[in-house]
């Protein structure tokens, strides 16, 4: 018999536990399993429903199929440029180098990407990418990716069934299971505690390595393209386990979400609409993006409509249309237009593809957008423009990890995908997320496997048994509190706070006010109460995830208050300029184990010389401080000024 345990707790023992079953989680699990590790994948939803399915545009990889001039260094340059030089350069480098292999691997596992005429993987244009670079399947690339990884896992399970007699012997998926606590022993990972949604039963996974792949945080905001799952679980688990989060102030607002009807506000309108020719217009019919090209991008973007329109067919001799600026720029521009009173009837701007492509072509290239607008908004995008506005889409910040192994500060804790920070700097380029999941998902799986292989011994269960009982009691408390706070109301108040005070444009006093309000919400959260029993009780599930949202909201607001400049996904009305001094600093958030956060400074790793040389010295001068610039660049700078 097992030693003491809390009532109704099921115990499982694994080598590697992956929390999250999206692209990064599944890729990590595949990698760990292929290293011979007994691996569990824990999914808050059903298997194959993860948020990755929402990704539409494609996966960026410098395959060079559409334009042979493309190569990893160019991809690296685009990524750093898009992230405004705040990226972890080593992560950006690994990502750019390895993405093509990861895509080809997917194809070898059965993925069917769209093709070029010579039978290779076709690639499409996207904001911030110099060449057509996104491997895609119509506008449902994320679905293709998650299905392929899901089916790869099934293939591995089939091999285990044939060899070991049980498909779940080495790799098992736990659907509709959520982790509420990481178990630690001597400061290292010993396992994870959670509950099954379907019956409310508790589970403990004893494992020396945990890979966080829990995705993002969008559900703290009112207008978001994210699903209910995006409650920042991984961010919160990592914080409480003692790891640090970096770049939390950088939240990406996707420029184009639906704005009407209210019930679909925030649902994503893929960037491919613009990549394939769609243009943004204000209520006066003006293509306003020409007015918003910032100095740092002036050289790469067209100045006239004619030049911009020429680019789609002849990119070599034309500059890019400004609609394809990185997402932060476009989102801010739309925000300004609406504020200036030049918005559409429902508070967005017009995104028009109907006058740019034949109806047949729109239906072929953007089938799910066509379907989505037709079904949900009664808008036929082949005949009329869409109304769009910014929507909370992605968090650049996350667990600080080592680039090679995806290891966090806590021994045994790894993180990959959206929950990891650093790779995208202050702003992620469209298409870099799907490739990020694959590259660093695999690295996290390998990293965890390597760590486990090197361990001499594992923590015995009785060392964490107390923690398990406490966690179970804590979870059950919400069910027992009778007439307490309604979790739905608290959640709604949190979303209002974040949307209004920590949104796309931020101000110091508002951020301070947000922190104050978050204090109040935290207090109220102690009295959360969910009626009903343990069987598939969504009120109870929400109550258990609210503390996570609250602590991560604090991390975002605190970091946003600290960074006194505007860069990428962080715009301060009171500090509108980008500062070369701030570029050298990553903000690092930690907790004392409770829900109070502290913000520290940490230097951004330098871009090594040979990679710095892929940039034009003029461009570097716009971002870096004088002492960081290579010698030659200094001279050029002087000449220009003279």
């Amino acid at each position: 018999m097992a030693p003491p345990r809390a009532p109704g707790v099921t115990r499982h023992t694994y080598d590697v536990v992956v929390i999250g079953a999206g692209g990064a989680g599944l890729r990590a699990a595949i990698a760990a399993r292929e290293q011979g590790m007994r691996t569990a994948v824990i999914s808050k939803s059903l298997f194959g429903k993860a948020h990755t399915v929402m990704a539409e545009g494609g996966a960026a990889a410098a395959l060079g199929n559409a334009n042979p001039a493309d190569e990893w260094r160019v991809h690296f340059r685009d990524t750093i440029r898009g992230g405004k030089f705040l990226n972890d350069p080593r992560m950006a480098e690994l990502h750019a180098r390895e993405a093509p292999d990861r895509i080809l691997e997917l194809e070898y596992w059965g993925a069917l990407f769209d093709r070029t005429p010579d039978g290779r993987i076709s690639q499409r244009n996207f904001g911030g990418h110099e060449y057509p670079r996104l491997a895609h399947v119509g506008d449902r690339t994320g679905l293709e990716m998650i299905r392929t990884l899901q089916q790869r896992i099934v293939a591995l399970q089939q091999a285990d069934a044939a060899e070991l007699g049980d498909p779940d012997a080495m790799l098992r998926v736990f659907p509709e299971t959520a982790v509420t606590e990481l178990l630690l022993h001597d400061g290292a990972i010993a396992g994870a505690f959670g509950y099954r949604r379907e019956d409310g039963g508790f589970v403990v996974f004893e494992a020396p390595a945990v890979v966080l792949a829990t995705g993002g945080i969008g559900k703290m905001f009112r207008t978001t393209s994210n699903s209910w799952e995006y409650t920042g679980d991984g961010h919160a688990l990592a914080l409480r386990a003692g790891a640090s989060l970096i770049n939390m102030e950088f939240v990406q607002f996707h420029p184009t979400g639906m704005v009407w009807p209210p019930s679909v506000r925030g649902i994503l309108v893929t960037e491919s609409v613009r990549g394939d020719g769609g243009v943004l217009r204000n209520s006066e019919g003006r293509r306003f993006m020409f007015d918003y090209v910032p100095d740092v991008f002036r050289a790469q973007y067209a100045e006239t409509e004619q030049e911009a329109d020429g680019w789609y067919d002849d990119p070599a001799n034309h500059r890019r249309p400004p609609e394809l600026l990185p997402r932060d720029e476009v989102a801010r521009a739309i925000n300004s237009e609406v504020k200036a009173g030049r918005g559409s009837p429902h508070g967005g701007v017009f995104l028009d593809v109907s006058t740019r492509l034949p109806a047949e072509e729109i239906r072929r290239r953007l089938p799910s957008m066509h379907h989505q607008f037709k079904e949900l908004a009664d808008v036929d995008i082949t005949a009329e423009p869409m109304e769009v506005g910014p929507t909370c889409h992605y968090v650049m910040g996350g667990v600080r990890v080592a680039a090679e192994t995806a290891a966090s500060d806590v021994p045994g804790l790894f993180a990959a995908g959206e929950v990891a920070g650093g790779m995208h700097g202050s702003n992620r380029l469209g298409g870099n997320s799907l490739s990020d999941l694959l590259v660093f998902g695999r690295r996290a799986g390998l990293g965890a496997a390597g760590y486990v292989a090197g361990l001499a011994e594992r923590a015995p269960y009785d060392r964490v048994a107390d923690r398990v009982s406490a966690a179970a009691e804590h979870a059950l408390a919400f069910l027992k509190q009778g007439t307490g706070e309604n979790p739905y109301t608290l959640h709604s108040d949190l979303q209002d706070t974040m949307n209004d005070l920590v949104g796309i444009i931020r101000r110091g006093p508002e951020l301070a006010q947000a922190l104050e309000r978050l204090d109040g919400l935290l207090e109220r959260s102690a009295g959360l109460s969910a009626p009903g029993d343990r069987v598939y009780n969504p009120g109870w599930h929400l109550a258990m995830s609210l503390p996570n949202m609250l602590v991560v909201s604090r991390a975002i607001a605190a970091a946003a208050l600290e960074r006194e400049e505007s860069r990428g996904g962080h715009t301060r009305d009171d500090f509108p300029e980008m500062s070369a001094q701030w570029r050298r600093i990553n903000l690092e958030v930690r907790t004392d184990g409770g829900d109070l956060v502290t913000v520290g400074h940490r230097p951004v790793p330098d871009i090594p010389g040979e990679l710095l040389s892929v940039f034009d010295p003029d461009e570097l001068a716009k971002y870096l401080t004088k002492e960081e610039l290579p010698e030659a660049a200094d001279d050029v700078d002087e000449e220009e000024r003279a």
């Binding site: 109704g8 707790v9 099921t10 019956d199 409310g200 039963g201 029993d533 343990r534 069987v535």
Partner: protein, 270 residues
């Protein structure tokens, strides 16, 4: 309420006494299908066994229900392939060789299967409406295996449609004063033959044979084009199925009325 450790509680489906909770008129479709099929079956049966009024000598109109005419009693000009030396007793159709195959072609057709499984067999009557049968084995039992022979009936039907096309062309050369002529009968027959080709070529088996069975289209450009063409027709297989029934009845009725002297052909040219 807390379930025992790790075990999944025994679960069952929900039990709802109503046959369906649908609130729309789901029975309308199967009702019309039944009526449509019944009309055709009754009409065709009466006509096929009638052994009369199938041929208009003046313009060489032959109804498709009697083509090719094989009995010794057939009008000499109506028998495209000559006549058998035996007189067919009553109730034996003159087109003894073609009709059974045409019947089997339609009986095993993927569209008609759907139509009669739903409306006549009631498996299921409509989507999400509980069917009245206690057990169900679909097309797995020996009695149902001939459904898989659809492609062979397609081959035969293809040949018969060629014969129907011939039958359609002949009357153009039998105008009132001999030579070329066009009457309403010709027009009806042309439409009928077009619908018959539409139905025959849009067949799912035809689609498979033309190219559907290939794994790789890139290496077979011609078959890919054939497949694409058939696929486009195949989209409308149901419409061709009903339209060809309607034009068959119309053609036959028109010929029968002329042959029995009730009406005479409306001539546009000669």
């Amino acid at each position: 309420m807390t379930p025992p450790d790790g075990a999944t509680p025994a679960r069952a489906r929900i039990q709802i006494p109503q046959r369906t909770l649908r609130t729309d008129r789901w029975w309308l479709g199967p009702l019309f299908t039944t009526l449509g099929l019944a009309t055709f079956v009754v009409y065709a049966t009466l006509r096929v066994f009638q052994q009369d009024h199938y041929w208009v000598q003046e313009h060489h109109y032959l109804t498709p229900f009697y083509s090719p005419c094989l009995a010794a009693q057939c009008a000499p000009d109506a028998a495209l392939f000559g006549r058998l030396p035996v007189e067919f007793p009553p109730l034996v159709p003159y087109a003894l060789l073609s009709l059974p195959f045409l019947l089997l072609f339609r009986l095993t057709c993927y569209y008609y299967r759907k139509a009669y499984y739903r409306s006549i067999w009631q498996a299921p009557t409509a989507c999400a409406v509980r069917e009245p049968h206690r057990s169900y084995t679909g097309e797995t039992r020996p009695l149902m295996l001939p459904q898989n022979a659809h492609r062979y009936f397609f081959y035969v039907a293809f040949v018969i449609t060629v014969i129907n096309t011939w039958d359609m062309l002949v009357p153009f050369f039998h105008g009132t004063d001999g030579g070329f002529g066009i009457g309403l009968g010709n027009v009806i027959m042309v439409v009928n033959v077009l619908m018959l080709w539409g139905y025959t070529l849009s067949c799912h088996s035809c689609r498979h044979i033309m190219g559907g069975r290939l794994r790789n289209f890139g290496r077979h450009p011609v078959r890919y084009r054939l497949w694409t063409g058939v696929s486009r027709l195949n989209d409308r297989h149901m419409y061709f199925g009903w339209a060809s029934i309607a034009t068959l009845i119309a053609t036959d009725a028109y010929v029968a009325l002329m042959a029995s002297g009730v009406i005479s052909d409306l001539r546009f040219l000669n």
